[in-house]
Amino acid sequence: MQSIDLLSPALPASIGNIQAAATRIRRHSLQMTHAAGLGHPGGDFSAADILATLYLSILRIDPAAPNWPDRDRFILSKGHCSGALYATFAEVGLLPPEALATYMKPLSMLNGHPDRNKVPGVEANTGPLGHGLPIGVGCAKAAKILGRDWRTFVLTGDGELQEGSNWEAAMAGAQFGLDNLTVIVDRNGLQQGARTEATVALEPLADRWKAFGWNVREVNGHDIGALLDVFQSIPFAKGMPNCVIANTIKGRGVSFMENRAEWHHHVPTDAELQAALAELTEAAQ
């Protein structure tokens, strides 16, 4: 990818710096999708602010020692949004920026869905939906068994919650009292082909999580300050797992991508890429 921007050096995690990182994550992931001819830009963009907030300010990780035993665990259950994850990894030094240009190229470490055996910092191989939360329950339970204080965060899509395995895990997480576990739902309202509510409805989503024994907070998933406030107040209650419903917009940040189901896995044309990058450049200024 010839046109990839140079990354800024690591900066203190002010709201402004996190916003700037989120904009770069959008730019890079869209360039990656364009270059690869494959990707999931709509979901990359709805998750970008959440990923930037977590990785720049919340997660206790050491990019120089990605397997540090007491690190916080982050699991991208919506593994198809690997473009945003890899771009985030480049922001924090888990990936060399130049690796992004190899996204989905032959023999690249950057598979279309993340592979923990190829990319240090990836905690779980995801792609099939409904795998992340059960693994997250296991990571959080392991911390309880071992008496360690690492925390576990799982980012799911919203359409993904149609997979029953999530609700098996939700029951177990509450039964085990995993207040060290947080699920973040990227509630952009759209799945691959249509609105979630027109496919198999998820509402009343907050009430469902509450009924399963989780302590629920709703937040604007594009408001960095609000995301920081919510994540910094974890655990919300002792002995209960945490659910953050992040209300987001699929394709957020580019006018012609926002709230359009087709951008789930639409690959931008050259003109669309340039127009999108122009909007994102403007937003960053």
Partner: protein, 311 residues
């Protein structure tokens, strides 16, 4: 000859491991009793993770426990553990190379009269098709205990296929397991009987019957279905025809694995004994073994047929 349920050796070995290694935990799907984990639970109540009746979640949770540095032994009826959670076994364990030990209990047709829903006669085909998996079917209590220990010492996903059906002691108590190595249980030059699990003792009985017929049959225990001891199979194929015997469908299981090895090394005539690609009728395990020709007498007949046609 006294007979044993291998689940007892399984749980005793797991407790002994857990005493020595704090990383050992048991994961169950409301299967504490059927997996013989009650004593483990009594000894280590904080190291049993019972997820309830939810196999997909069970395998995912085990993956997370392994991510946290623990060594989970996931115990459940093999039919549900492998079938219901197959995608988790593929992605979370095999593809991810997670250090999780799947322990499929009451495999094969052990649940007899309960019917095909509870039979697990496809699990070897499913698990051995998955990259990075080690697939092992112990034949007696000593081999079961040794396999439990070997699984802990090995960093990666392992499927242990364990039966509840009574089997005699075949190995000494200090037996050691090496994944990927076959055991020659009996030397012979006319025909080789290859079996694992509950079928090894039957193959040995068949070999004794064949000896009375003047046929010198070798018996090989292929407990390690993956990795497969291709060298041992090639040596047997050079000696003569092969009969495989498995408590599993003959599609893709032990017989399939041996055939894949034989056709690429030294093609030789084979007979594949097992369940011939159909669901079992109602009946006890003993009845079903008779029905599908998985008895010493039926193995003998198959071997005689094969040796006769080879001569």
């Amino acid at each position: 000859m006294s007979l044993h349920d291998c689940r007892k050796a399984f749980s005793e070995a797991l407790i002994a491991l857990a005493v020595a290694d704090e990383r050992i935990v048991a994961v169950a799907n409301d299967s504490i009793g059927s997996s013989n984990l009650k004593e483990f639970q009594k000894r280590f109540p904080d190291r049993v993770v019972n997820v309830g009746i939810a196999e997909q979640n069970m395998v995912g949770v085990a993956t997370g426990l392994a991510n946290g540095g623990l060594i989970p032994y996931v115990c459940g009826a093999s039919c549900f553990l492998t079938g219901r959670a197959l995608e988790q076994v593929k992605v979370d364990l095999g593809y991810s190379r997670s250090n999780v030990k799947l322990c499929g209990m009451s495999s094969g047709v052990a649940y007899g009269e309960l019917g095909p829903t509870h039979h697990s006669i496809e699990d070897l085909a499913w698990t051995r098709a998955i990259g990075n998996m080690t697939v092992f079917v112990p034949a007696d209590p000593a081999e079961t205990a040794a396999a439990v220990r070997a699984a802990a010492a090995y960093d990666g996903p392992v499927f242990l296929r364990i039966s509840r059906l009574p089997v005699p002691d075949l190995f000494p108590p200090d037996h050691r397991v090496h994944f990927g190595r076959a055991d020659v249980m009996r030397e012979g030059k006319d025909v080789t009987l290859m079996a694992n699990g509950t079928m090894v003792c039957r193959a040995l009985e068949a070999a004794a019957l064949l000896a009375a017929d003047g046929i010198d049959a070798a018996v090989i225990n292929l407990s390690s279905v993956r990795p497969l001891d291709r060298a041992a199979i090639a040596r047997a194929a050079q000696a003569g025809p092969i009969v495989t015997i498995e408590e599993h469908t003959i599609t893709g299981g032990l017989g399939g694995a041996v055939a894949e090895a034989v056709v690429t090394s030294h093609p030789v005539q084979m007979k594949l004994l097992g369940i011939p690609g159909e669901f079992a009728p109602t009946g006890s395990p003993t009845f079903l073994f008779e029905h599908f020709g998985l008895t010493p007498a039926a193995i003998r007949a198959a071997a005689l047929d094969l040796v006769g046609s080879a001569r």
